[in-house]
């Protein structure tokens, strides 16, 4: 199913180290570019080509699109660094420590998931007791709470226990200030203090942290598979793939990951991450690691099968098969019709699933 | 590598571009020149000399002028 997807195959080629062997002159670049753009992965694909010094082999017209998309992710990284420095200026004055999360953290740590990564907001984690001080400090430096209506404000503060996104008056950049890893209303309750304890301190900037490489994997997995933030599904799977390959190189590494997932009470999302990163992008994850994750997540065989079918179905839904016939007629049929992007949320949540059984089995292209 | 670029076409005003931050400032050409010197870690006494000669003011006054300029430049990220 997903294998038919050109952008998925492209990412697999990169992972397997076989990107050099594709036929550069007859490769259906236009389709790749469209699919990659659609999934917010164009600059990542471009980065891979550039990194392997393959850009010159790409015909001129598609090459321009790749180069331009690298400019976009470069600018993104540049402005993220500036933003982090500004946030640091504001928060260090108020003596508030913070952890960078997601895109900004990848860029700051300079890890593989920062390759061609596009993102808009800067996500930070502060201790709950510092929340008010942080908000004031940021407001004094020009970040203002977006003009939300009273209801939405209340929603954020009371239900999410979070500050609504703050936008900088001049630069129009947005910070999301978190004090927990996942919304406090959710079933899983990982203690944020546990993330703090193993966070890595940034060089020369006391008080600034990024999550440890293992925790970054767990956090990314949790976001994708627990919060159901699937708008960027394939991009996030690619992040996980890159993070996993980079952080875990030995049996010892897998043991650490699983151990940590149990400790944080986040085995289930980690299982999904391992399972689907392997299935979709062929991440080198040993079968027994996945089996141990299933065991530790206390998932029944039925649960496992169900989720596989479910995701498989969800991914196949709306997905017009790519017939690799090059440019002619195929151009029009090859094209991805939303799959990740429009995947209904109810498909993704096991605990919501049973209720929508009927809906789901009757799932049609829509 | 320099963090700023200064464009001057002979007028009283210069454009200063902050490469890292990506923003631009319109400064008097003299202040822009001082900025470039500050960036090069030019010794303070030379700067004071330059300011007092150009503006025809006392060294002490020149020093406080430079200090407030430095503060402004730091505020807008032109100096660390």
């Amino acid at each position: 199913m997903l294998d038919d997807h050109l952008v998925v195959r492209f990412l697999r080629h990169y992972g397997q180290g076989t990107l050099t062997s594709i036929d550069f002159s007859s490769y259906p670049w236009e389709i790749l570019i469209r699919q990659a753009r659609r999934t917010n992965l164009l600059s990542r694909c471009a980065f891979f080509l550039c990194e392997l010094e393959l850009l010159d082999k790409v015909p001129k017209q598609p090459r321009i699109h790749f180069i331009n998309s690298i400019k976009l992710s470069d600018a993104n990284a540049r402005s993220a660094k500036v933003e982090v420095k500004q946030i640091y200026k504001a928060l260090s004055k108020a003596k508030v420590d913070f952890v960078l999360l997601k895109g900004a953290a990848y860029v700051w740590a300079g890890n593989n998931a920062s390759k061609g990564r596009l993102f808009t907001d800067t996500d930070i984690l502060v201790a709950k007791e510092n929340l008010v001080i942080a908000e004031t400090a940021l407001a004094n430096s020009g970040w203002l709470t977006s003009s939300l209506d009273v209801y939405t404000q209340k929603f954020y503060r009371e239900w999410m226990h979070e500050i609504p996104p703050m936008t900088h008056l001049k630069r129009q950049t947005t910070i999301d200030v978190h004090h927990t890893i996942i919304p406090p209303t959710s079933r899983l309750k990982p203690k944020p203090i546990k993330f703090w304890q193993q966070a890595d301190a940034a060089e020369d900037m006391p008080g600034l942290y990024v999550l440890s490489p293992i925790d970054m994997i767990i956090h990314s997995a949790t976001h994708l598979f627990h919060e159901g933030e699937f708008e960027q599904g394939l991009r996030d799977i690619s992040d996980l793939d890159l993070l996993i390959r980079e952080a875990i190189a030995s049996q010892n590494g897998w043991d650490k990951l699983l151990h940590r997932a149990v400790e944080l009470d986040l085995v289930k999302p980690v299982y999904y991450a391992l399972n689907f990163t392997k299935k979709i992008l062929d991440a080198p994850i040993p079968e027994d690691v996945i089996n141990r994750a299933i065991f530790q997540a206390k998932m029944s065989k039925f649960d496992v099968k169900l989720m596989d079918v479910l995701y498989g179905r969800a991914l196949a839904t709306n997905h017009v098969t790519n017939k690799m016939k090059g440019q002619g007629v195929a151009r029009w049929f090859l094209y991805i019709r939303s799959h990740w992007l429009k995947m209904p949320v109810h498909l993704l949540f096991p605990h919501l699933f049973r209720k929508s059984w009927l809906n789901l089995t009757g799932q049609k292209d829509h | 590598m320099s963090k700023i670029k200064i464009c001057n076409w002979g007028g009283d005003e210069s454009v200063v571009y902050n490469i890292e931050f990506g923003d631009m400032h319109l400064l008097s050409s003299f202040n822009a020149e001082l900025l470039a010197l500050m960036q090069k870690q030019t010794v303070q006494s030379l700067l004071i000399e330059k300011v007092s000669v150009t503006h025809g003011i006392e060294r002490q006054e020149a020093e406080s002028y430079l200090n407030s300029l430095r503060i402004e430049y730091k505020k807008i990220n032109l100096l660390d």
Partner: protein, 301 residues
């Protein structure tokens, strides 16, 4: 082959399933739409554009389609999408052709980062490129429409594509978009100009498009060297005034008009300051098109 040479049915078929491809400047565009007004718009304004071959690489695939759902029965809307991404909220369906044009501008401004893209009209005469940046109310489009009917060549009425590689400005000729009173002003000023339907009450007021003159298409691959940067200011009853503008000021102002200035970073600054270095910069106040034309023409004499 030109768009107009496609068999009639083919145009319609192409629109609904596989898309119709045409070239503007260096861009190969494919558009699909199920809205008759968009079909009419393309047939009217793009009939002299080259069609692409099946094997050509298409840079931008865009879709303009009627929004489904129950709303379509009482308040039909149109959406624009670029490879599935919708940069705008849907608009009332009568604005579909305008949305197509705005959407295409958006796509170019957000992808063509091998250019510094300046929000301005760009025209040429005798090899001199003239940039007219578009501050709201400046009358940029009106002035541009007038000039391209009187001997200047249209490169674009919306964006100057300044190449980072060679410092030249590249054309992407499209119909000129005119608003409100300007529509009648240009119809009076240039009775031969060809217009489309007026779209009433769009986001930007009443809008009508004017056909890009033949010269714009004939030379759509010829880049120009920028020679003049003129900030137009339309002012009722004002006397015509062409005043030199310090380059530092011009640079500060122009940066605000560049869509991708931040994305290009230092490269963008360098190419903009290089260009400013080599052009004459003016503020230009005018009250009517006849004297405005004299003023602009006097630059190249």
């Amino acid at each position: 082959m030109l768009v107009s040479e496609l068999p009639f049915e083919k145009i319609n078929a192409d629109f609904s399933d596989s898309g119709l491809c045409f070239k503007t400047g260096i861009f190969n565009i494919a558009v699909t739409s199920n809205i008759p007004a968009v079909t009419r718009h393309i047939r009217h304004f793009y009939s002299h554009y080259d069609c692409n071959n099946e094997t050509d690489f298409i840079d931008l695939h865009v879709e303009v389609k009627a929004v489904g759902g129950y709303r379509r029965f009482y308040r039909p809307q149109v959406s624009f999408s670029f490879d599935g991404y919708e940069p705008f909220i849907p608009l009332p369906i009568n604005q579909a052709p305008a949305m197509f044009e705005w959407g295409l501008n958006w796509c170019i401004a957000n992808t063509a980062h091998h250019y510094l893209i300046i929000h301005s009209a760009i025209i040429e005469k005798d090899g001199y490129g003239l940039i007219l940046p578009g501050t709201p109310g400046s009358g940029k489009s009106t002035l541009c429409a007038a000039l391209v009917n009187k001997g200047w060549r249209l490169l674009s009425d919306e964006m100057a594509l300044l190449s980072l590689a060679d410092g030249l400005i590249y054309p992407a000729p499209r119909p000129v978009s005119l608003k409100n009173k300007s529509i009648q002003i240009i119809k009076d000023f240039a009775p031969d100009a060809v217009f489309g339907e007026v779209m009433i009450d769009t986001l930007k007021g009443d809008i009508a498009h004017m056909l890009a003159p033949q010269s714009a298409l004939a030379e759509q691959t010829t880049a120009v060297k920028p020679a003049f940067l003129v900030f137009p200011h339309y002012k009722d009853n004002a006397e015509k005034k062409l005043i030199g503008l310090p380059k530092s000021r011009a640079l500060m102002t122009l940066a605000e008009h560049a869509f991708n200035f931040n994305i290009l970073g230092k490269q963008g600054f360098d190419s903009m300051s290089n260009m400013i270095e080599n052009v004459e910069c003016y503020d230009f106040t005018y009250a009517d098109l006849v004297t405005a034309l004299e003023g602009i023409d006097s630059l190249i004499k």
